[in-house]
Every structure is written in C-alpha cells, then in structure tokens.
C-alpha cells in the first residue's frame, strides 16, 4: 500500500502539470505536427499510397512518447539529483521502483493525451482514414508498447545517473537516430530485416509497426513482423526492461551510497 501511495504521489506532478502549464499544447502538439506535415506533403507530392500519410501521423504521435521517455524519464533522476529531490526519495522507506513507476504512469497518461491530440489533428488536416480492425489487439499493442518503452526509460533513468552532466548529450544523441532506426516516418521494414530487427530493441519500433498494421490493414505488405509476433516480443521486452531497471536502480543506489556521488550536485 505504501508503494502504491508513492506511485500516486510521484505521478501527481506530471498529471497536474497538464493543467498548470498549457504551453505544452504548442510545444508538444503543434511543433511535432510541423514535422508530420513535412513528411505528409512529401508523400502526397510523390503520390505514395495514402496509408503512408497515416503512417507518418502515427509516427508523429509516437514521437511524443519517445521524447517523454528520453527527457522526462531517462534524464529525470539526474534532474531530481540536481534539485535535491533524489536524496529525499532515497531516504523514504519505499521501493525506488515506485518512484520510477509514478513518473512513468504520469508520463504515460499525459503523453497519451498529447499523442491522441496529434492523431486527431493530423487526421483532420490530411483527411486520413483510419480503419480499426482489431480493437483487442490495439489495446494490447498499446499497453505492451508503453510498458516496454517506459520500462526502458526506467532502466535508463538510473544508468543516466552514471553519466552525470553528460546525460543531456545522451538524450540528444538518442533522439534523431531513433527517429530513423525505428521508422517513425516510414515502415521500418524498408531498412532491411537485420536493421529493423536491431532497432526492435527500442520498443517503439515494433509497437509502431503493429499499430500501423492494426489501423491500415490494406498496407500489410509494409509490415515488418506479424502483429502477434510483435506483441510477444514486446511482452518479453517489457519484462526484461522492468527487471533490468530494478537491477540498475539497486546497483546505482549501492554505488551512490559507496561513493557518495548520488547526493552531490553538478557531478
């Protein structure tokens, strides 16, 4: 019960932040839509299949999750250290995973609202027709993708503490290359099997591919793997990342207690 309260407590700032700082609507919905629009116009100009504009809109929506994981999950413990919150989390009698889980839960809910907003505006602006064929698969894909993705973010959160001030650069480094490798604006299949398989370590790669199959069944030839195979792999990634995040967090805490670095700023 104590850990559940901690999850709720840490999720709260993220959820209430949606109403307190409405500027996110511009930065996290309007700006990503510009990139989406650029790709959408390219595909329209090239007279590509109409599904491709839909692929781009879905990719744009999932961008919000990737940025949230990088900047508000992976880097978060580092920023918490700088503000002095990390010491207070560590002194509290709760599982450290509950703090990360609270951050993840708040991030998931907030970002889902952003992502849905992007999809709606994109559909309206480009008249894309989404045809939902399998709602059950949609719910499962969305759920396992987010659990795996935020599990990876939780793992990164403690690893980023190792990098200290370099964490900022690491997030930058992981932004653009992942847009390419995970096929945010095109089907990942076209990168070739082995590249796509390698990129599948980022859960959004398979999640996005599965979502595209669910919403655009006519574009099945663009799929990398069958939906249920992707769900299976994502489920394995979810478990693996959650276990690894627990280990990396314990490791970091032990290391921090030994060296004293976790409670020092500007390290």
């Amino acid at each position: 019960m104590m850990n559940l309260r901690a999850v709720r407590g840490r999720a709260y700032p993220r959820l209430i932040g949606l109403t307190r700082e409405p500027s996110w609507m511009f930065f996290e919905i309007a700006l990503p839509l510009l990139t989406v629009s650029a790709y959408a116009y390219i595909y329209k100009f090239m007279a590509a299949k109409p599904e491709f504009v839909g692929y781009v809109i879905l990719g744009g929506a999932m961008t919000a999750f990737w940025l949230n994981v990088l900047w508000a999950m992976a880097s978060q413990l580092y920023w918490e250290k700088e503000t002095g919150n990390l010491s207070l989390f560590l002194v509290a009698p709760i599982s450290r995973m509950s703090i990360l889980a609270g951050m993840a839960l708040g991030g998931m809910v907030g970002t889902t609202i952003r992502a849905i907003s992007t999809v709606f505006i994109g559909v309206f602006a480009f008249s894309v027709v989404f045809s939902l064929t399998d709602p059950v698969a949609l719910v499962i894909v969305f759920f396992v993708t987010l659990v795996a993705l935020y599990g990876m973010g939780m793992m990164f959160a403690s690893l980023y503490l190792l990098f200290g001030r370099e964490a900022y650069h690491l997030s930058n480094l992981l932004t653009e290359p992942v847009y390419l490798a995970s096929g945010f604006y095109f089907p990942v299949r076209y990168l070739g099997f082995w590249t796509a398989a390698g990129a599948s370590i980022i859960p959004i790669t398979l999640g996005l591919d599965a979502l595209r199959q669910i919403f655009f069944p006519s574009g099945a030839q663009d799929a990398f793997l069958p939906i249920w195979t992707e769900i299976f792999v994502l489920a394995i990634l979810s478990v693996a990342f959650l276990i690894l995040s627990k280990f990396s967090l314990d490791f970091m805490e032990r290391l921090g207690r030994t060296t004293g670095r976790l409670t020092l700023r500007w390290q």
Binding site: R20, N85, L88
Partner: protein, 325 residues
C-alpha cells in the same frame, strides 16, 4: 537500553575519482556518539568538519568506510529499510519539490512516500502550516515562495511524517530572525511534546545550539572534540576570563597575541566604521593591563572594554583553535 543514534569508530574516507586527481579525504575519523531517545542533540563544527557526512551516513544515504552506525537500534548499512521507516531529514537551503505544485500539494506528495493516508496527511499539513504561519500560502505555487517560506515548507515536510528521529542539517541557514525563531520554537515543542522523539541538528550558529540542544558535540576535521551539555561545555573555559574590546583601527596586532596570560586572541576589523574588535581569552586576568598598555602604545584608542561570560563560541575556539567564521 537501545539508543536513538549510536556510532562506533565511524570512519568515512572519500577517495578521488581518479588517483591522479588528488588525495583521499578523511571526512569522519573514528567517531563515537551515543544519543538517547528524546534528546535534542547538536553537532557544531566549521565547514568541512564532517557534520553533513555524519548525517548522510545516519540517514542511509552514504556508507561508512569502517566502523558502525545504528539508528533506533538498526544498522544503517544492512538494516537501512528499518532505519528509513523511522527517520526523516531536512537540509538548509533545500530547493526540493516541484515549483508547479502548490505548497500543500508538495507536502502531500512527500507524505505519500511515507505511506501516510491522505486524510491524515492533509490534517497534519494544515496544522503545521498554521503553526509555521504559512497557512495563507498553502495554495500558492512553490516557485513563488521566498527563501524563508520555502525553508519553512521544507521543515514541515520533515515533520509531517512524524518521524521517530529527525536529522536537521543547518535548518535555519540564511533565514531571517523571525523565520528562524518559528523553526527553533517548533523543534523544541516537537521534542518535548512527544515521547522519545529525537532530533540531531547540525548548525553553524552557536546561539542556536546553545538555546536548543540538550547536548552538543563539537566536531572538527572529522573528529569529535567534546560532547556534553552546553553548561558543562562552558565550564571547560570558565577557568579562563574573556574580554572584548573595541578600539580605533589597530594596524599591528601581532604583539597582543604573545602577551603573557593570553590563552586565545581573535580580532576583526570593521574598516567602514573604523574600528577593530578584539577578543581575548585570558588565563590570568591581570594580563588586561598589559593589553591596554600595548593598545595605547600602538596609538589606538579604546572605545569599549567588556568582560564576558563564557559562551559556546569560547568553548569552540578553545577546542578548535579558531572561530566559525
């Protein structure tokens, strides 16, 4: 009987990140402390004395290099989960929390990390906000608070979980007189109104330690130099007499320190007001006449001369060999 805090030969050495970058720093050197339940215990020392390191070990944020530390009878190294259930900590100048949350929301959030039911937490928060004169700010965002208001909020955060033992690291650092007084008064009330509540407080302020603490340990270079009640500590220097003189700007002060009967000698120049403040701890009171002669000989005028009762500062100077500033 179980102690609130006990350390046995507690030692902490910080190694440089790379061996080439410097040498090891001994932050704590075989520290032995015994703090009873219900005590308000002060740790007095200059910057770098080891106060914060000791608090970090006791609050499970740092491991000792050697020796043992127990909080509420639990080993901080191996039974840290049990220790964490019983403690909380507050540091001076903390900027913790989230600026977009209100004061009340921030306090509630931290209470959730201790598993306190929302209803209980909110009741306690309201009571504490009233006691700390912060009630009217409860719905203000944290980022709008002044330094003093923010520190009051931090102190409330520490007490809202009603810990068995609280570690306060310079809780009134940089605060004005009123804000400091509110915090000090609350600390004293909290200890005296609850059975077995214990406070371990570090401070730079001698008067704060003197006013608040049942016992004080003086720490310097990682070693405990003395540990007793404020009155007993003052008795250490009671055999000596302390004189304070204000004189017109005195250039050469070297001769004053070597006068026979002078045990300790300190001074501070106030260039703006044009005077020098001298402080002497004398083993022989008759040395005053030699001091006065030396000052007059140097061409300076005596503005005031005062014999003072021993204070913790005198004890500190005797123990550490220098003042806190």
């Amino acid at each position: 009987m179980e102690l609130a805090v006990e350390t046995k030969s507690l030692t902490r050495v910080f190694e440089p990140k790379k061996k080439k970058e410097g040498k090891s720093v001994v932050a704590l050197d075989s520290v032995d402390l015994r703090i009873e339940h219900g005590e308000l215990f002060g740790l007095l020392g200059p910057n770098g004395a080891g106060k914060t390191t000791l608090l970090k070990i006791l609050s499970t944020l740092l491991l000792p290099t050697s020796g043992k530390a127990y909080v509420a009878g639990f080993d901080v190294e191996n039974e840290f989960h049990e220790v964490r259930r019983r403690i909380n900590m507050v540091s001076g100048g903390e900027i913790s929390g989230y600026g977009l949350l209100t004061v009340k929301e921030n306090l509630w959030m931290f209470s959730q990390f201790y598993g306190i039911k929302t209803k209980v937490a909110l009741e306690r928060i309201d009571q504490l906000l009233e006691l700390f004169n912060l009630e009217e700010k409860k719905n203000e965002k944290v980022r709008t608070l002044s330094t003093g208001q923010r520190q009051k909020m931090n102190v409330i955060r520490g007490f809202v979980t009603d810990p068995e033992i609280i570690f306060l690291d310079e809780p009134t650092l940089g605060l004005d007189v009123n804000a400091s007084k509110v915090i000090r008064d609350y600390i004293v009330d909290w200890v005296s109104n609850g059975k077995n509540r214990t406070v371990l407080l570090t401070t730079h302020y001698m008067a704060e330690a003197d006013q608040l603490c049942d016992r004080i340990a003086i720490i310097d270079n990682g070693k405990i130099l003395a540990c007793d009640t404020p009155d007993n500590l003052k008795r250490i220097v009671k055999t000596n007499t302390t004189f304070a003189l204000d004189v017109t700007m005195l250039e050469n002060k070297d001769a004053l320190g070597v006068i026979q009967g002078v045990d300790k000698f300190m001074f501070s120049d106030d260039a703006e007001k044009g005077f020098t403040r001298l402080k002497f701890v004398l083993t022989d009171e008759s040395a005053v006449s030699d001091i006065v002669s030396e000052i007059v000989k140097s061409g300076s005028k005596i503005l005031s001369l005062k014999k003072t009762e021993p204070t913790l500062e005198d004890v500190f100077i005797k123990m550490v060999g220098k003042g806190l500033d």
